[in-house]
């Protein structure tokens, strides 16, 4: 086939046909279809459905939505701020002239599969034989209490994500012209002052993107929560992802699951708009 008879634009679109088709079929259609299902009463296991208007949304906003929202926000904030702070500290430390192989060592927690992370921390937090209780000399059922269970899932997710933050922020630090720091030092600025006046402004963009991306990912995180606590105890760690999953695949209630998913998506959309804006500046 000779591409020359086509204009550039036509040729480009031709190249994109398989990708766009796949994209429409497996991402766009399922998403739209899920959002539509929120207005129906539909079961996962029985055929047929009936239109119920806003009834599913009204049910959710009258109850279940709020605890799930608050759990999700607590988890997301905790599991974003903690890795951000740890990752930033580590990036600054590694940028201060420590050997380069250290960066690779710190990647391990991020590299190993999510379920392995969950298994490992499940074992560490184990009430009877866990090493955490062993170290502290306690017999606490970490995953059995609503407060410590939330802390436990945040710690686990923090452990798995801080290396990613480190890599992102270190990449930002390495693009910073060292002359700026030297000039500030010559002018008598101390380390803290240089961090505030030179590093922070330089890092604002990449730090903002890293924080926002991690926030969005945590907002829909499923794996470690599901394996560690399954959303329990008593729903204390039930976030949007776990709630939608349970409603659909344990309660077989597709209408409420997708309605909850629609509300979730709406919140995500706000975050995404922020993200795409930031991405473009």
């Amino acid at each position: 086939m000779n591409g020359r008879r086509l204009t550039d634009g036509q040729f480009a679109w031709l190249l994109m046909v398989p990708g766009v088709a796949l994209f429409l079929a497996i991402i766009a259609y399922p998403l739209v279809s899920a959002l539509v299902t929120g207005f129906f009463e539909q079961s996962l296991v029985r055929p047929g459905r009936s239109f119920v208007g806003l009834a599913n949304f009204a049910d959710l906003l009258g109850g279940d939505f709020w605890p799930v929202l608050s759990n999700t926000l607590v988890f997301t904030l905790g599991a974003t701020i903690a890795p951000f702070v740890i990752g930033y500290a580590l990036a600054l430390a590694l940028d201060a002239g420590l050997p380069g192989w250290l960066r690779g060592v710190f990647l391990f927690p991020w590299v190993i599969p999510g379920v392995v992370v969950s298994f490992l921390w499940l074992w560490i937090f184990n009430a009877n034989y866990g090493v955490l209780n062993g170290l502290l000399g306690t017999q606490v059922s970490w995953l059995g209490d609503p407060v410590t269970a939330m802390v436990a899932v945040i710690v686990t997710k923090t452990w798995a994500s801080f290396p990613w933050m480190m890599v992102m922020l270190l990449a930002g630090l390495q693009t910073m012209p060292k002359e700026l720091h030297e000039a500030a030092a010559v002018d008598g600025a101390g380390a803290v002052r240089r961090f505030r006046s030179v590093t922070v402004p330089h890092m604002r963009h990449i730090a903002g993107i890293a924080f926002l991306l991690e926030f969005i990912w945590n907002f829909q995180h499923f794996d470690t929560i599901y394996v560690l606590t399954g959303g329990g105890p008593a729903g204390a760690t039930k976030t949007f992802a776990v709630a939608v999953y349970d409603t659909a695949f344990k309660g077989f209630d597709l209408g409420h699951a997708t309605a909850l998913g629609g509300l979730w998506m709406l919140l995500l959309l706000v975050l995404m708009v922020f993200y795409l804006r930031k991405e473009n500046t």
Binding site: L15, G19, A28, L31, A34, A93, V131, W264, M265
Partner: protein
């Protein structure tokens, strides 16, 4: 700012010499504290995997191994069900990676080398699609696969994995094609090569390392997936992550040392992949998060 920002490594020693010793001491202190948090769990994973059952189920646990055994790995090798999960994981992840790279290479090339109507909004859509919640996609995918009789098959897994590997590969490869100088393609055109030939014989070979990197990333993401594999696969088509959950966590008393040994084995291919990927790390980590 480019997506391959990490490959520009600044010689740390040069910078280090000019730093006052006090700030290096502070840096070492931070690295030590975070290092304990980051690496102590890994140490525990490895130690448990080699600890005999009676020692592992003692309280308080001994922090240094007193006795080493390979029993857990032997038991793992003899477990046919787990071997089946492993085979499934390999098949599904490899096919997903190859398919994703093949489809996204053309799309990424179009994004990178041509300017046309709809390009920028489509690029944003691809970028945003990585951020759509999987749990919600899963609900419809389940219904569609159920209606078409694909539920439980390899196809269902591959298609569902492609929902996250496709955007990832498109963004990574766009960054790669951006680094292939357009002048090379113009030269080929002047020499009379068609656009197809330019793409296949000039651009793709030049981007080959990037194609491999994108494929490896897709492989890793598919290998690690939990939620889709948990829900869409038949028991005999399940991959390792949900397979391990079903094998070990359903029991009354979890065989922790066995599970830690299995965890180590599942992690190995991923760790190996990342050793190759060091150079592409930031590009792959963000896949467009840093504008290419």
């Amino acid at each position: 700012m480019t997506a391959t920002v990490s490959s520009r490594s600044i010689p740390v020693e040069r910078v280090a010499r000019r730093r006052p010793p006090r700030s290096r001491a502070a840096a070492w202190a931070a690295v030590t504290v975070i290092g304990f948090f980051g690496l102590a769990p890994i140490y525990w994973l490895v130690v448990t995997a080699f600890t005999p059952d009676d020692k592992a189920f003692a309280f308080p646990p001994s922090l240094v191994p007193t006795e080493i055994t390979f029993d857990h790995f032997v038991r793992l090798a003899e477990n046919e069900q787990l071997f089946g999960y492993l085979v499934n994981s390999v098949i599904v992840s490899v096919v997903t990676a190859v398919l994703s790279v093949a489809v996204s290479a053309y799309m990424a090339y179009a994004f990178s080398k041509f300017r046309y109507r709809g390009r920028s909004s489509l690029m944003h859509l691809v970028l945003a699609s990585q951020l759509f919640p999987q749990a919600l996609l899963l609900v419809t995918l389940y219904a569609v696969f159920s209606a078409t009789g694909l539920l439980g098959s390899y196809t269902a897994l591959i298609v569902s994995f492609t929902t996250f590997t496709l955007p990832l590969c498109v963004w990574m490869l766009k960054g790669i094609f951006d680094t292939v100088p357009s002048t090379l393609m113009e030269a080929a055109a002047i020499d009379g090569a068609s656009r197809w030939r330019t793409l296949h014989q000039i651009a793709l070979p030049l981007a080959a390392p990037g194609l491999v990197a994108a494929g490896l990333f897709a492989f890793v993401r598919a290998w690690n997936d939990f939620i889709f594999a948990l829900t869409l696969a038949d028991p005999d088509r399940q991959t390792l992550p949900p397979g391990l959950v079903h094998t070990y966590l359903g029991e009354f008393q979890t065989a922790w040392p066995d599970l830690m040994a299995a965890s180590l084995v599942v992690s190995l291919p991923v760790i190996a992949a990342f050793m190759f990927l060091q150079r592409y790390l930031v590009g792959g980590l963000t896949a467009g998060a840093v504008k290419g």
